[in-house]
Symmetry: C3
Subunit: 204 residues, 3 copies
């Protein structure tokens, strides 16, 4: 499924751009920007692979991910003065990445023979943990813990993916449906400003 | 030893509650609160398992840990207005958890054939690193680095555990003795306000 | 090559001292200072080992690293009032450590049969990631992302190392040359105050 691979690589680019932008926002030097871009793009998948013992982790064995990150990094550096205008484009890539990395993560869990609940967690982790690491390394509170519906879209999509697999439908159709669910939830959440309420403790 | 398993699961609940409280204190949304609860409860054991190559890590293979976390999470959400009153109860659970996770960690090190010093480190890491990750993800300086005697109780207990194993006594007795040492040190430290002095550099 | 092993262990001491100083600067207690010293000295190598599945990780199998850390820790505690005067000595050790850990990291990558680009990344990670973890645990923005040329020296040295390996020269000579390159770049960068420019986003 060529379109799938193309989108997966585009998602890696998008995550790298998101990391590079966050790092430039903190005024890191080019080296720091590069590290943050790499960590954002591969952090989620790396943690997933380490947790299940799939080592050397993915990006060490398939250099295409690294090349995509370099492309994303170059794009962020070159177009950084115009990125405000391109924001919608990158938001779209990032959202596509959320959908696709969810699917990859769940599938790798299934192949490792893990329980469905664990597989869904692996999917969400693959899709969102790169962003958590990006924020930790930038010394910020991870944005997905207190703003926007992001990882939740991945969690819901991952659950649907497992349900759809039971139907016996064609795998490509299931991929497209799952990605559509994740992407739709995320797009709607941003368009209509959906967010979960903050939980807080009573003041003493 | 049924009582032991029951206490281990209760400890997982206590750690999850501790994570959920910290996250609500930062006003995270329900999703963020869930992630922090999970990371606090399983973070120490997960790092230990990854370091020694015991993968997929423990909680991926025994779902009971996850169920306990969900219970802890539910308790934190439901009782969050009354948790001030229940603080002593949860402190007790957390302290029991410290003792039990120390034992589990050291034992797993022994089973992996590692040097006793490394085993003690694994025990302390299992018992205290979930709290470190909780604080890092909340963008706080980890509390165990500069306040209270916490991980030190685990370190001392782990050392005694290894000594006791040489006596050839019944394993259950050794478990109970070790847990008692860790729990006693922690309880006394809190009751009498023991703490290690801060180290500081001379002002220039 | 005895001199090499001696320098490697001295580098571990230097990294432990660097961690202990950072922790004392944050007024951590002795336990916290110990943890930060350990993490700074072994963090980079530990991540490298976990990523490629070389577990139990190195320091769990060769206790010499731990003993060096204890020496570094003791030195930092005893001499902390005089460390200002010894700063140049420790800077030199740290720089030697940067050079040597780069070589170790790249070599381990080669032995694992990984692609040269990945090997260079592993070298840089081994040499610099302990410092990143140190800063994250101290709740600071990692210094190597926005100040000084540090990891870049390791990156350049690692690349030269791979090129030199193709010459077929004696391995000891290649080791010495590589370490010299890393150390020279780092020393020159500090002496002449070289740094990479911060990248920043245009103000909106």
């Amino acid at each position: 499924m060529t379109i799938f691979i193309v989108l997966d690589l585009m998602a890696t680019i998008a995550f790298a751009v998101s990391g590079a932008l966050a790092a430039m926002n903190k005024r890191f030097d080019p080296f720091g920007v590069g590290i943050i871009a790499i960590v954002t793009a591969i952090g989620g998948g790396t943690l997933r692979d380490m947790l299940i013992g799939r080592t050397p982790v993915g990006w060490m064995q398939d250099l295409n991910y690294l090349y995509m990150i370099f492309i994303g990094l170059g794009m962020a550096l070159i177009f950084r003065h115009k990125l405000q205008k391109l924001r919608k484009t990158f938001f779209l890539f990032d959202t596509i990445g959320l959908g696709l990395f969810t699917i990859t993560g769940v599938e790798i869990g299934i192949n490792a023979g893990l329980n469905p609940i664990i597989c869904i967690m692996l999917g969400t982790m693959s899709a969102s943990f790169g962003g958590v690491l990006r924020d930790v390394l930038c010394n910020e509170v991870p944005v997905i813990f207190h703003r926007e519906i992001y990882a939740l879209a991945s969690l819901i999509g991952g659950s649907f993916f497992l349900l759809l697999l039971k139907t016996g439908w064609d795998q490509d159709i299931i991929y497209v449906l799952t990605a559509s669910i994740v992407i739709s939830i995320r797009l709607l959440a941003v368009k209509y400003n959906w967010s979960l309420p903050a939980l807080r403790l009573p003041q003493e």
